[in-house]
Structure formats: structure tokens, C-alpha cells
Symmetry: C2
């Protein structure tokens, strides 16, 4: 039966009149000449476009009105399954793909220009036929949330799900995740699953899978290649290195940050190069050593959300800090200025917090570099007030770590000790 | 009378026995060979070092014990004044140097390793003899604070002082400032003094003036050259471009951020190149057009500190936002995720804030890139709740701008209008 998934009205008519179906390899002349495979479409699309997967791996939406000519390559017709019923190939490594939502599992609504999360993990898998050549991928949907709506309870759910596969025959686990808070999730998994025996790779995309410039396919392919080739323990974030179409960066999950709102190469390793660079046929290794500094796998899948991130700035009202203290918070991570400072006006409130036994950690809003609180008088004052300098831990990572530490340990000396202990490469040289 | 300022005990003995005084040009053999001028020392120093200003402009502290040989260049002896009594040179442009404190006006205590703020503006001027060849510099101390202790009331004091010189014969004004919050101060001056007729240049240093690797002298020289050569209206931050000793970057005061805790090239222009690059004998211009989008100089030196910066993260407790609302805040700048998002859990509190007439602006914790709240459902929800997307304004700049706008305008429509209006290049393409 001819396959026209998602095509209706004008676009269906267009396919039929040109005698092409989903999965056909075609050459299309429009503003440029495009070569690729006709892709299925999904609800939320208009009828004015057809979707073509280019040979580069990107999908492009082509407006029917502007198409001057369609040529079909009869021989190279490929099969694209509707429901991800891809048959496993014997001998290939097995990978588990968990989908949590986000742009990578989303499609653009051409009518409104907005993006909605509707792809299932199976559809995601099926939409990138290259994956089946590298690994046998089992796909599961965990939930379908944009990452701005991912909460600590979602982190727990992901960690518990992964923990079920401690003793599986998977070579690694890929988590499709929204990019907004992907680095928060990668941090929590790093701490709670420290020592996990197979790589955990978070992958997202900055442009939805059916947009011309989508980075979803290449990021997924990069993650799959990384797992099947390198296979080191750890939690990684795999995304485009930059605007180029052929280089994928693999970042340590506790040293990475989303540093651009829209670029495909939005993620950067702070204070260094990405751990691995995945190009067409090779993987460059910039990171050696163990990601996990804790060797034994002893999952600690708990957390305490009563940790506040206080970004200091001139005019910061110490009463805001007083409120946090009175609301029963158990940890405060300061995003201080420079080497790790907050103004003198904060000292009284800091004393109150300390008096209540709240853990107080210092990071820097500079993001890059190390806090060092012995250089200036003010830093030494803060040390005397009991604020712990957290070396070069990224503020967001320090926040997640404090939630995790305080959720799993209760003695204040132990909390301090674990906060300063390198658990999952969150501290670097 | 021989000049030995600051040298005592062993170090004084060393100078006398080698027949050298402050201001002498010498060649010293230690671990390496150093050529430069013997500099005065100040209190808080030990007696084991002499300070040499290298030909590169940097000061180096040399341990007496390790010095193998000292040679004096009799002829090129230079005069270094003790109290900055530098005679003006006819025909040179005039610059006003205002000191507010910070590392640039500090010296390291060799015994403790800590830095304390003790240089006056005059001493600062005198410690960089090169300045007198470029401009006649008048120096004034405004206050002496590390920049983590600079508060909005200090911003007001600086702005009011500068405003006094609207009709002066100065070619520009240099403000020596701590680096931690220099970009907050440059933002406030940009808005409150929009249209000011001569350049205002903030300059700091990451290493104190008497440290080997101090960047103070070169940054000051760079600022002076910039004013005497380019002289465009605006507020700028002048610091090392990178670790190189000969390139100084001049950043737009509303597009700059301290992005490293300790590097000399810690400041970066967000989303672009520095406006000007000052090399040995030339200035490269990357910025054309007017810094101030408001042409008429009409100072508005008021502010309202009741503006909060809310950095959203997974697990952010909406009750914290409720507290801000209840504390009578008049503006909230969100540092959302990605394109400008906060989780659904925040919506009810946002509604409360909106109901109280609080100005709500959205920026991104990605720092680089533009917020765009029409791409995803969640962004559109937030737009419907009345949050205003602040384009590519840097979060810290948006905070300062909101303090300034709310301090000077009272109608909520006007506040919104000015927040979105490009006043001082805070919005860029």
C-alpha cells in the first residue's frame, strides 16, 4: 500500500500527481536543487509543504507552490516505518532510547510557527533511518515535557528508570531531552547514578526534527556513534559543536552549559574543550581518565529541593535572603561576583543563615574560572562567615549537587565534605 | 634627596648597597634577566622584594635573595613622583580620572597574599608614567570600595559627579573601578547619562598594580589612548582582550560581562566583538554608529532598587516569587531558560505579580542570543501572562535598566516602552 503518512489535501495531491510516496528518493528543483528522501508528516502540519530528508541528515520543508520539478530515483527507494517497527540487525550493539520530550521530539506547526511535542521515541528512532545501521535501538517514552517544565521529580523518574538497566545488555542509554534544562538533568544523573556501568547520553535539538535546519538527526547519530565506539562510563550531553553540519560535541554532563538561546552549537564545555568531538568517521578524544570519581555503582536517587540559588548583584536586598532562611531552606548556593564575593550588606543575613545550619556554598556568576576567596578582604570575611568556596563548579551544577547531597546526607560536616568531593568530574583543573 | 619610597630594612639596604634609587632604569639578573624601572613601594609590603616596572608596562616583584646581579643604566633615569605631582604638558588633551576603588587602586600584601585598596587616584596616575605623555590627567578619589560593595547609591554618586563635567574641557572621563561589578556600573551610567558629550571609560585590573602580571598600567594606557584618539560618545569598559600583553579591548558598557573569575581578559562583549581593539599604535574600530540612541543629553540620575532578578531553574519554588511580590517589588527580571521560558509551576505566581502591576521582563540565562517567546507553547503562555521579552538584553543589564526606568518613569505603559527602546546600545542586532 502506498505510504503517504501525514499528507493530506494539496500535499497528498502533489505526491500522487508526481507518483511519489513517503520513502522515495527524489531530486527536487525549487529555489535550489534538493536531493533526499520524502519523509512522513504528522498532525499539526499544513498542506502546503512536503518534507524531505536531505543527504546531510537534515529535514527540509519545501513549499509545494515553489517546486518547479520533481525527479524520482527509482532504485534507491528506502523504507521508512510508520511506527518504528525497525527490524534488529544481528550483531549490532543494543541501545536504549528514552524520550522525555523537548524539541528533539517535537514538530513545528507550519500554520502558527510554534513547536509542539508530539514525536514518540519510536517515531524519533524511525525518523533517523541511519541509526538502524549503527545499533539496534529500543525506544521508550518516559514523558513528554519541554525541559522548562522538567522538575526535580522528573530527574528522579529518569534516574530510577535508568537504574533498572544496570544489568542489561545495552551498550548505552540515550535520553532525548529538551535543551533548556538538559544540563541540570545531566548533573542530577551524574550524581545520583555515579558509577553507572554504561554511558548515559543526553541528546536534544535546537530546531525541531521537521525543520530545514534541524540538528536532531545528526545529534542522535552522534550520540549513537559515541556509545558504540567509545563507550566510556559517564553522563554526557551530545549536541552540535557549532554551526557546521558535520561536527558533534560530546560534553561532560557536569561541565556543560547552554550558552546561546538559538544556535545549534548552543552548548559549551565551561573552561575547556568538549570531552569528545564526533566527526564523520572518527572520534577525537580530549578527555581521558574516569568521569566518575566514585568507582562502585551505588545509586543515591534522592534529593531535597529546599536549596536556593542566590545571584548577587548591586542592590540585592538582604531581606530576600532572610526570607529564604525563614522559609526553611537547607542549602543556599550563591552566585557571587568575580572570585566569589557578595557585598558587605549581606553579612548579617549570611550570619542568620549560618546560625540555622544552612549549607552555604559560593560559586561565581562569571561562570568560567575558579572562586578564590583568600585574595581579597571581602572573600576572607565570607570564609569566616562559613561560606564554602566551591572551586570551579558551575553555579547550576552546584545547585543540583546541593539538592542531591542534602537529600542523601544529613550530617552537616558530611554535606560539606561531599560538596567539595569530586563525584562526577564537576570539579576540573 | 634619594628616593626610596616604601623600601625599608632589607630591601632599602639592597637598593643602597647597589647604589640605585626609585626611578632608576636597571637590568637585573635573577631567574631571568629583567629590564625596567625601580618602582616605589607602599605599606603592606614585606622587605624581601623590590618592584620593577618592566618595559612591557607590567610591574614585577623580584625577591632580593634570588637576584644575582644589578646593572644601572645611568642615563635613562626617570622621575617618579611620590604624590602624583606631575606637571601638565602644554597641548596635550585633558582627562579626568575618578577612582572608586577596586584592584586597580589596590596593592598586594606580600606577607598575607591578600589585596587591599590603598592607592589614591593620584598615586595611580603617578604609577603609570606613560600616561603623562599622552594626556594631562586630573585625578580625584570618589570613594574606595571593592566593587562587590558598590551599591546603587554609589552608581548615583558617580553619575552625579560625572554630570558636573558636562561642560568641561576634558576629552573624556576615566573611572577606575573594581572589576566584579564594573559592568553593572557601566550600564547604569549608560542609561542615566545617555547622550553625555564626552566618552566615559571604566577601567579596572584583574591583578593589583604592584603584582608581576598586573594589567592595571596597560588598561589605563589603553583607556587614555582610546579617549585621545577615538573620542566617541558612550560608556565603555576597557580591559585586556586576552592573556596577551599588547592588546586592549574596549567594550560597549551595556554589552559586556565579566566571564572569567581571574583571567586578565575576563571581560567579553556578548554576541559580538569588542567595539574597539587598542593595540600598540593603532585602534581597530569594530563598532560604528552611535552608542547613545538618545541624542540630547538629559541626565536622569534616579533609580528604584525594588527590582528583583529571578533566575529560574528546575525546582524553583514559586513561593519565592510570591515573597518578592508581597515585598512590594515594582519590577522583576526573569533569567529564564533557553529562548525565555520558566516552568508551568510559576504561572500562578506570575499572574499574582502581574495583578499587582509589577513590570515583568524576560531575559535568558544562556546570556548569549535573543529571547523569542513565540516559538514554543510555553513562551506564548508567558507572553499571555504579560511577561515582556527583552530581546537580547543581558540579564544584568536588564536588571539595571529596570531599576533606572522604574526610578524615572511611573506610567506602566511608559515603563514598558522605555524598557524595549534602545537607549544605549543595550539591544543589538
Amino acid at each position: 500500500m502506498p505510504e503517504y503518512t501525514g499528507y493530506e489535501g494539496r500535499s497528498l495531491e502533489f505526491l500522487k500527481s508526481n507518483n511519489i510516496v513517503v520513502g522515495d528518493s527524489v531530486k527536487i528543483l525549487s529555489d535550489l536543487t534538493y536531493s533526499g528522501i520524502i519523509m512522513p508528516r504528522y498532525e499539526h502540519s499544513d498542506n502546503m509543504h512536503i518534507v524531505l530528508k536531505l543527504n546531510s541528515g537534515y529535514n527540509v520543508g519545501l513549499e509545494i507552490e515553489k517546486i518547479k520539478k520533481v525527479e524520482k530515483n527509482e532504485i534507491t527507494r528506502k523504507i521508512i516505518e510508520k511506527k518504528g517497527k525497525i527490524e534488529p540487525t544481528q550483531g549490532l550493539p543494543k541501545i536504549l532510547l528514552l524520550s522525555t520530550g523537548g524539541t528533539i521530539a517535537s514538530k513545528i506547526d507550519y500554520r502558527t510557527g510554534a513547536v509542539t511535542p508530539i514525536l514518540t521515541a519510536d517515531e524519533l528512532n524511525a525518523s533517523v533511518p541511519e541509526l538502524a545501521k549503527i545499533a539496534n535501538i529500543d525506544a521508550q517514552v518516559l514523558f513528554s515535557e519541554y525541559s522548562e517544565n522538567i522538575m526535580p521529580e522528573h530527574w528522579l523518574a529518569v534516574a530510577k528508570k535508568i537504574n533498572e538497566f544496570e544489568k542489561s545488555d545495552y551498550s548505552g542509554i540515550i535520553i532525548a531531552h529538551g535543551t533548556d534544562t538538559m544540563h541540570y538533568t545531566s548533573s542530577f544523573l551524574s550524581f545520583s547514578l555515579a558509577g553507572f556501568p554504561i554511558p548515559i547520553v543526553l541528546v536534544g535539538s535546537q530546531r525541531s526534527s521537521d525543520r530545514a535546519s534541524s540538528d536532531a538527526a545528526l545529534n542522535l547519530i552522534g550520540a549513537t556513534k559515541f556509545i558504540t565506539t567509545s563507550n566510556p562510563k559517564g553522563v554526557y550531553v551530545v549536541m552540535h559543536l557549532d554551526e557546521s553540519d558535520n561536527t558533534i560535541a560530546c560534553h561532560l554532563g557536569t561541565r556543560v552549559r547552554k550558552n546561546h538561546t538559538s544556535k545549534r552549537g548552543a552548548f559549551q564545555t565551561i573552561g575547556g574543550s568538549p570531552a569528545f568531538i564526533i566527526a564523520e568517521n572518527q572520534i577525537q578524544e580530549n578527555f581521558s581518565g574516569d568521569y566518575f570519581k566514585i568507582k562502585e555503582y551505588q545509586p543515591k536517587i534522592k534529593l531535597d529541593t529546599k536549596v536556593a540559588l542566590v545571584k548577587y548583584h548591586p542592590g540585592y536586598d538582604p531581606n530576600l535572603l532572610n526570607q529564604i532562611v525563614e522559609m526553611g531552606y537547607r542549602g543556599i548556593i550563591f552566585e557571587g561576583t568575580g572570585l566569589g564575593h557578595i557585598g558587605k550588606t549581606m553579612y548579617e543575613s549570611v550570619k542568620k543563615a549560618k546560625g540555622k545550619g544552612i549549607f552555604l556554598g559560593m560559586t561565581s556568576q562569571c561562570i568560567d574560572g575558579r572562586v578564590r576567596m583568600t585574595v581579597y578582604e571581602s572573600g576572607r570575611d565570607l570564609l569566616n562567615l562559613g561560606i564554602i568556596p566551591l572551586e570551579n563548579m558551575i553555579p547550576e551544577v552546584a545547585l543540583v549537587k546541593a539538592m542531591w547531597v542534602i537529600g542523601n546526607y544529613h550530617d552537616s560536616e558530611e554535606i560539606k565534605k561531599i560538596m567539595l568531593q569530586n563525584v562526577a568530574s564537576e570539579l576540573s583543573d
